[in-house]
Amino acid sequence: MTDLGCVTIREVSRLLRQRKLSAVELIEAMLSRIDETEPLVHAYVHVAAEQALAAARRADAEAPLGPLHGIPIGIKDVLATRDAPTQAGSRLLAGFTTPHDATVVRRLREAGAVIIGKQVTHEFACGQDVPPTRNPWDLTHYPGGSSAGGGVSVAVGSSLGALGTDAGGSVRKPAAVTATVGFKPTHGRVSGWGTIRAASAPSLDHVGTFTRSVEDAALLLQAVAGYDPADRRTVDETVPDYLADLDRGVAGVRLGVAPGYFAGPELHPEVGALVEGAFKELERLGATLVPVELPAFRFTLPAGFVILMAEVAQPHRRWLVERPTDYVSGTRRLLELGLLIPAAHLQAALRARMAMRAEVQAAFRQARLDAMVTPTLPITSMALDEMVIDRDLPRLIPFTLPWNLTGLPALTVPCGFTPAGLPAGLQVVGRPFDETTILRIGHAYEQATPWHRQRPPLAAAGAR
């Protein structure tokens, strides 16, 4: 059996199509991999072994539906699945089941993918508790969140791809700290219908993907993208062929950099050096770096937190009264604060968001940018025993949250490792609905560098 710690969806798909591997063999190997890795990394809350094997048997009996046919995908535990509980990491939803699949889950199944299980999230995706999940690059370190299980499972090979949700960086952050590819498409590109409402800030939230390569990210997006009448946030824009331009390279591409915001004092020098190296590599590949100013981005954290807290808190009003002790205390505190935010602050935050959006649009237009490049996070993963959630959450998301506020598509790809062996990510941000360009840029960088092929020792050597 191929080493599941290293392969991509594209590579496994080829083996399946050539009948060198059956879907049942693949799922059996994946379940073994889960058994090996879970005691160490705790990426799953529910492994749907029987359902996955049944789906694999059906996949083997059918003509291939496409590149995801028979491919095991993990699902964040805030996205509804008809055949497994959806508990959003909370005692309040213990045992909750629904007869429905989230639209993205349904679309994956229609593309032939096999849902292998539900993956760990912070309680209600709020980022206020410490999940049991561990970072495979250093088991004493934070795995990122809130989609904690998704990045880790892809990094160790206990899934080949995963879906998460991202309202402030909850896909890109765990991807960056696990050296995987994390992708948040444009707001409105992918349906969020079937996301647990109590775990979502609707105007900021995006369904995104974890994969081991940019090409795999394109494959997953191709399956889940598109207008959904059940989700009025989705936009009826044509879904292009995301693979068509992947190999076009970056010669002549203009990439905005905004050191005034993305290279401030919060950027750790080791991460800064790695990202500078990535910028140089993109220049070597033919891209042009163009400095731009984004002064309104200073509003990112205050505006983002106000909107995030206000939106996510609303569905909790009744539970906060009737079942307050079922929350993790930090989550309850965040939600109570969200209900107490003065209207004046929320109004100012909404206006600040529009100022940011206008400013970045003007920057793209005036500097004729194809995309922007930034560090994904200002720091690397931190040791869990040193982490203070209230203090550290704002330190983790200042570079990811702007793209939730503006709705622009953002991709993170691994761009190297610190001397301590912890990964860092390069973030590529595009125009609205221009996922094609950032996939192309990310792919070109990835093909020219070795980082995405490095796997944590846990994955490369097997878990035992």
Binding site: F299, L301, L337, H345, L350, R365
Partner: protein, 63 residues
Amino acid sequence: MARRLAPADVALLAELVGLRLPPEDLAPLAAALDAHLAFVTPLLHSDLDDVNPPLTHDPRWRD
């Protein structure tokens, strides 16, 4: 320096939004709300009067 929120202030605010908080939660929540407001209040002093809040939701740009 602005007056700090007291537990009684938070109790009143909570009542107004329909929350019932145990007395022991009031002081820590008052401190947390104070800290949060200190962090976000600069938004109120920013020049955003001429910026509209989102009026419709459409992420596409209109040139």
